[in-house]
């Protein structure tokens, strides 16, 4: 079975990124998964065991002093070494900030091509076929690479399931710490508060607020409903531009794309830009004063009403039913 490389990101605190599960699951559907990991010290036994649990048949452990001090370049060097060592059928990275830069540089270095923001993969007689969800899910496009190595960046949270567990063989390789042509990392600044709410990109339920909230103080209404439902918090661009909430919560074409089981839009009119980021949700609920708001065109359940009276009642009604 052909080898498929998966670049496993490790945080500067040494944690294996959440994207590892999906990457190894996708790799296992295409061949034998090889986890490529870059670190400044040899991998701990725990990490080897964890990657095996997630399906890595083999681990290419690149050890270099540049890990954590040089941006992305060590990952590209490691991947390039692993490509030489394993002659893979494909290379997978997360569609993360680091993952896509690594895939892009590797593509140029080894003469491959990038299939970006992939939501599903399969092999068609040995050819890697990638599926993409385009323009906010309005189109499903399948693509492949003709000649040359396919490099796929996998949308985080898109691949379900897990690869069968394996006992990973580890190949430890020491990489030279090169800095020329690379950017240097001076400092990591962790997110100040780690939210107890689910992560927006992968949450099963999302409650989003729009300009209809009227003020950042009123945005607490969105938080209250979200906490009642165990949901992540999102926002429309209008709410972000008005300063009600941070840009990282923005759902839409220019923000995060979400595909939850349930999406609740509060005071959101539903501009095309916003709909492009949420219309693949299984069920959409919209509450808005404006009867003609375009959000109602895609809502499975719409309420024309005042969010400030409907939402508190909804919170009570949900609490009453869950007791």
């Amino acid at each position: 079975m052909s080898n498929v490389l998966a670049l496993i990101e490790v945080s500067h605190r040494g944690e294996i990124a959440a994207s590892a599960r999906g990457l190894l699951a996708a790799a296992a559907t295409l061949g034998s998964p090889v986890a490529v990991v870059v670190s400044s010290a040899p991998l701990a036994d725990d990490d080897v065991a964890r990657l095996g649990e997630l399906g890595a048949a083999r681990i290419y452990s690149a050890v270099t002093a540049a890990a954590g001090t040089v941006l992305v370049a060590p990952a590209v060097d490691a991947l390039s070494g692993a490509v030489d060592a394993y002659g893979p059928a494909a290379v997978l990275t997360a569609n993360s900030v680091d993952g896509r830069e690594a895939a892009a540089r590797l593509a140029v270095r080894v003469g491959g091509s990038v299939l970006a923001d992939v939501v599903q993969v399969h092999s068609d007689n040995g050819t890697v076929v990638a599926q993409h969800s385009v323009f906010g899910g309005a189109y499903t496009v399948e693509s492949m690479v003709e000649g040359g190595l396919p490099l796929l960046t996998i949308r985080q949270g898109a691949i379900e399931g897990q690869a069968p567990a394996a006992t990973a063989d580890v190949d430890t390789v020491s990489l030279e710490a090169r800095t020329e042509g690379a950017a240097v990392i001076d400092q990591f600044n962790d997110d100040a508060a780690v939210s107890v709410r689910p992560e927006l990109r992968t949450a099963a339920t999302v409650v989003s607020g729009g300009r209809g909230l009227g003020s950042s103080e009123n945005f607490v209404l969105v938080e209250q409903l979200a906490d009642t439902l165990g949901a992540a918090i999102g926002a429309s661009r209008a709410a972000v531009d008005a300063g009600y909430i941070a840009q990282t919560a923005q759902v839409g074409q220019t923000g995060v794309s979400v595909s939850p089981q349930l999406y609740i839009a509060l005071g959101i009119s539903g501009a095309i830009q916003h709909r492009a980021g949420m219309q693949t949700a299984k069920t959409i609920v919209a509450i808005n004063k404006d009867e003609d708001a375009p959000i109602f065109e895609v809502a499975d359940f719409g309420i024309v009403g005042d969010i400030f009276t409907v939402v508190p009642k909804l919170i009570e009604a949900v609490k009453a039913r869950s007791n």
Partner: protein, 255 residues
């Protein structure tokens, strides 16, 4: 200091955008073309450096069909000093690899201290072209920045990572990409619009750049349009809508 800003002409995200189902390529007739907003933010960042230091030269570079000249003119009317338009029929539907190879060749020909771009376009959203260009030119990339300082001895900035931000830096020449955390672009003023017409625009073909004309290697196999979503129930709240919604959520096992 010479800054080249990469701009891309894209379908307006405020309109319904369409793909051609036969080719999988963008249907350019379906929506109006505009300068991608993220590139306008990159241009704004470059123009602010020029505002503070008159010795700065800002070049707007675009690859696209003939009508992409409009986007270049807008960049010039905002304040870019000159434009470079890479235009060639053989580039129709170019994939990220071809695009990056072509841009890299054009950048080499134009010369620069800093290249600025958006972190990802609103149409393709691949976010890989600047990193590919950086690899072609063997340059450092400071990607996905939320702020940047550009000086003669190098660039430094704050990068948005997955679990937090990173302070990063590199010497010149370098490539940086900006995120939506950068300030919105200025509007062209009357003087800018008038002077834009006199600013030089260089047109470059693939032959002039000496890049291979071969077809893109990523191929679209199939394109399927999702049926439009049908609207469901819509209630006018008479005081009971919240209860009905709660029932609906419970019945569908959503709470």
């Amino acid at each position: 200091m010479k800054i080249v800003v990469l701009v891309k002409q894209v379908p307006d995200t405020a309109e319904e955008r369409k793909l051609d189902l036969a080719t999988g390529q963008l249907d350019r007739e379906a929506a109006d073309s505009v300068v991608d907003e993220i590139n306008e933010r990159a241009l704004e960042a470059a123009l602010r450096i020029k505002d503070a230091n008159k010795g700065t030269e800002v070049v707007a570079m675009i690859m696209g069909p003939d009508d992409a000249t409009q986007s270049l003119r807008k960049a010039l009317s905002m304040g870019a000093d000159s434009g470079v338009h890479i235009v060639d029929d053989s580039l129709d539907g170019a994939d990220t690899g071809r695009t990056a190879a072509t841009l890299a060749a054009a950048l080499k020909a134009t010369g620069f201290d800093v290249v600025m771009a958006g972190n990802e376009s609103t149409d393709g959203r691949a976010g890989v072209v600047p990193a590919m260009v950086a690899e072609h030119l063997q340059l450092p990339l400071l990607g996905s920045l939320i702020s940047a300082e550009i000086a003669d001895d190098g660039v430094r900035g704050v990068r948005q990572g997955e679990g937090g931000t990173l302070n990063v830096r590199a010497g010149l020449p370098a490539i940086i990409t900006v995120t939506e955390r950068f300030p919105e672009a200025r509007f062209p003023n009357f003087k800018g619009i008038l002077t834009a017409k006199r600013k030089p625009v260089t047109r470059l073909s693939v032959a002039e750049l000496g890049v291979p004309t071969g077809a893109s290697r990523t191929v679209v196999v199939s394109t399927v349009e999702r049926p439009p979503r049908a609207a469901g129930r819509k209630l006018i709240d008479d005081g009971t809508a919240a209860d009905e919604l709660a029932e609906f959520l419970v019945a569908n096992r959503l709470v």
